[in-house]
Symmetry: C2
Subunit: 318 residues, 2 copies
Amino acid sequence: MADLAIGIDIGGTNTKFGVVDRAGHILVQDRLLTNEHDSVQGFIDDLHDKLMPLIEKAGGVSQFAGIGIGAPNGNYYTGNIEYAANLKWRGIIPLAKMVAEKFGLKVKLTNDANAAAMGEMMYGCARGMKHFITITLGTGVGSGIVIDGKIVLGHDGFAGELGHTIIRPGGRLHPGTGLRGSLESYASATGVRETALELLTQHPKEESLLRDYSINDLITSQTVYECALKGDKIANQIFEFTGQILGEALANFVMFSSPEAIVLFGGLTKAGDLIMNPTRETMEANLIQIFRNKVKVMFSELKEADAAILGASALVWD
Amino acid sequence: MADLAIGIDIGGTNTKFGVVDRAGHILVQDRLLTNEHDSVQGFIDDLHDKLMPLIEKAGGVSQFAGIGIGAPNGNYYTGNIEYAANLKWRGIIPLAKMVAEKFGLKVKLTNDANAAAMGEMMYGCARGMKHFITITLGTGVGSGIVIDGKIVLGHDGFAGELGHTIIRPGGRLHPGTGLRGSLESYASATGVRETALELLTQHPKEESLLRDYSINDLITSQTVYECALKGDKIANQIFEFTGQILGEALANFVMFSSPEAIVLFGGLTKAGDLIMNPTRETMEANLIQIFRNKVKVMFSELKEADAAILGASALVWD
């Protein structure tokens, strides 16, 4: 019986891949540079060269149930990557088909945020849940929605773009989408940095450890977190504000699909209670009665380094 | 073969019921007053007295696949009505079980908004669609979400409360929920009336036909519609504003579940293009690229008088 899967996570810079067993252990892993190859075929050839030794070492192709791939704008229905802004390859790339032909294995493709949700359901804190939402609070804000044990894909395969829902009409301009007031403009790494700059500018006389950092250093929620722990008022306000926006957004998501849990993942979650408390509190305050004190908001237990490969591999068991 | 179904729509004032065939024809229908009965059992007994002659006339119980019921706070999973604010009967009412025992037929229960979505899928303009959302713009704003051909119920049966999602943080207070800025506070009959009063107050020198109506008459979107058709500026602004809010909300819903269509139903839709145009335009303007010019926004084709019975009956064929 095929008890192993390949998980491949294609990112703008790196492509990570590994051999995963049904329990969620990554037995071996490696990576290659995504945009080093001008042609998709060149990328797949290189991937094959690097992966085959791992596959052979694990007992050969017959041990594998298939290959799962998470990629920007990956479409589960078509197996295509469609117009991914961060990748060199333009237009519509029939990646699942090309990889299947090269490896002779079943290939499933979806976007990275949906793969993350699959990982939580198979190996993470959403094990056994049939209704939950994962929100990745990283450079951007990604989301994967699970209803009745299945990823919500929508009629075209692109459902679950919760980072782009508008939570502050007329608010911050998102340079990538041209829209104003989206969740991603506030609850991402870039959003936290912008909030920091706004608060420091609005309160020029308020002392803050954050003023010792150059603007570029402010980018990480890590910096803000460290200052907040030292009692810095503005740093604490940043998480308070971000948590409020996030909590309002989560309330809206709950009233849509009534999940059992919302799993938060990504850089911002390192702030722990500083982000969790205002998020939970504001979510509860914006829910109608029937949803209150029901929905778990939790941090992912998956290691950030492993989650992308695990999530991609989880597509195979589906 | 059982080719008939009973549809029952329990409203705050009236309970409507009818015999429906698979093609969506209501063969006979009748009604009774919902809150005339202090006990649920009394209500069911009265319903039985009124329904049995219709059932007998149609060939008896054996001709019927079952009974579908739409009711406020009706829970599909449990078959209970749970804490419905508009009904006399308090707490948790095991209505599906009680009706099944009385009639000896299979009974399915859900809330009225989900029943409306089922009706659209079985008999209305969402026939053949697997991914769509219905929004009822009536006294309140109700919604039913269909994904992969199934109503989204969530982990507790209460999913799909889109009227309560926050679209204007810090905005209008909703007296029923205590929340501020929900879609229902703007895109309902009450919301339209409030918008009318706001605009008339904000522009005291602007002439408007609406000033000839008493405040109570303003409640209907019908009044505003008639004035708008006569070229009244404020009446037109009311629909423009309402459509903008609704369009923003629809954009958020699209980015959640990527439906093929959104079906609008209820009093506000009588305003036709006056509400449809700003709604569509604002929705498109708030979508990220991959969703633009894809999602149909349409008015329900079901007659308002029939829709509730049809929707309830559609539960039976599921």
